[in-house]
Symmetry: C2
DNA sequence: CGACTAATTGAAAGATATCAATTTAGGTGG
DNA sequence: CCACCTAAATTGATATCTTTCAATTAGTCG
């Protein structure tokens, strides 16, 4: 993974601010808090474990650049990636009441990470819809963090449906559309093209397939003119067709 | 489904109180609130939709008796059950910031349902770990509701791993162990035996299998002496063996 | 140029789905 | 209690989808 891919335009809002402000309007001091949190990113290599499985009190962190995943390993070595984490995503933000096997979190590429302890109390309060104990209105940041949590649940639901009831071909189409939508929310997509920094082995572990079949499925999508891959970037050539194939229901187009 | 299976010992704590008090100690007034919420259950038939997919403001409800599920339908009729809901489970408790396709909630058997609007504000506040805006300690009920939410996330993670990386045989074993653990939390298990009121078709839709293969897999488990089915009850004959087969990591280690 | 890792291929085995009956169980009306 | 009805469970045969195994080819980096 070329490290340069972690560069970003100076002055541009980082992925975390970009994403959360897309969920709810943030007050100036809230935006400032986020900028402060993301001011000093730490660069970690691929395969860094950010959170151990079953950890009771994980460190709250945000992913500024690079991809990661939550995964679970079976005793015999099989691996299932539960959800892929992208720039702007939050890790270990919710306090666990007890250690449970939610999976470990590991970087898939080199990544920029920030400690985000400052967000935890706000995330904790973000359940307080409109009038909890204080009767106060929910702050913008709390609302955004709550929305972020809801999106995480949606990704899990999507993952269940993909794995349970879709063919390999459909799964990949669906997954790519989800990635596109999520990356678009942090300005990582131009004309349906985005960097795609993971190997087919990782993709296979995410979509519950063997590497070989993953490879063949990807080739089929390319042959069908639906996607195009060059080096570490991917282009979705025909989004409507992909949507039809995957029966994809995005966050935006709902009844 | 015989309606009598919905009966329960008079005076015994209902499933909701039983479960939540197992997650965190409840104050007397909290327990009273729960008893009040569950005082007037409504009996609904199987296949009742409790919550529509993408519904923005679902009614908060609790499931007192009977089984239900959250599910998503694909355009061509395929169905994936995302999570099975058991007595004591909560539905539509968290306020959604916007309508998203989290799936619809439908009863799988006749069920007793209670409106639970009274719990929503408390659930909303249950993010407030130890010291949100008020700096106050989290109440027992809020802690319990938060734990309930964490368990829901765990079930989703388990479902992803089952569907993504386990064989049919392993999936069923894993699922049965999870059911046993969850039902035990509401006193529905005696000596590894519990009522099992769903058809193989439903099971198949939950585990991402065809009905025929579901049937054969179940037969294999029976032939192997791992489970025993009589009428509408199932017995896990060899839990340690099932745990080994399924690579099951439970929340606790049950008796 | 090696030494890797990732992508790709071909062939064969294994798992699961589909199709089409058939049998079983439970509930109902006579 | 029996005949009958329908949903559920079961079976056998066959078609598909996926995995596994074993190489082979590309691509990257020191």
């Amino acid at each position: 993974m070329p490290v340069e891919s972690l560069a970003r335009a100076p002055g541009a809002p980082d992925a975390v601010l970009r994403r959360l402000s897309g969920y709810a309007p943030l007050a100036p001091d809230e935006a400032a808090l986020l900028r402060q949190v993301t001011a000093r990113p730490v660069l970690v290599p691929a395969r860094t474990e950010l959170m151990r499985d079953g950890e009771a009190a994980p460190r709250p962190q945000v992913l500024l650049e690079g991809w990661a995943c939550r995964q679970r390993l079976l005793a015999d070595g099989r691996r299932q990636i539960i959800v892929v984490l992208l720039p702007g995503d939050l890790v270990g933000l919710d306090q666990r009441r007890r250690p449970l096997p939610f999976g470990s979190v590991t970087t898939l590429t080199p990544a920029q990470i920030c400690e985000a302890g400052a967000l935890r109390e706000c995330a904790a309060a973000s359940g307080t819809a409109q009038g909890g104990e204080t009767g106060g209105r929910e702050t913008g940041l709390a609302a955004a963090l709550r929305q972020a949590r809801e999106m995480e649940e949606l990704w899990l639901v999507n993952q269940v449906v993909r794995l349970g009831r879709q063919t390999a071909y459909e799964r990949v189409a669906h997954f790519l559309l989800e990635l596109r939508e999520r990356l678009a929310a942090v300005d990582r997509v131009q004309e349906n093209r985005f960097t795609f920094p993971i190997t087919q082995e990782i993709l296979a572990d995410a979509l519950g397939l063997s590497v070989v079949h993953m490879n063949r499925t990807m080739q089929q999508l390319r042959r069908d003119g639906l996607v195009e891959q060059r080096a570490t970037a991917i282009t979705l050539r025909d989004v409507p067709a992909l949507v039809a194939i995957a029966d994809y229901a995005g966050a935006h187009d709902l009844p």
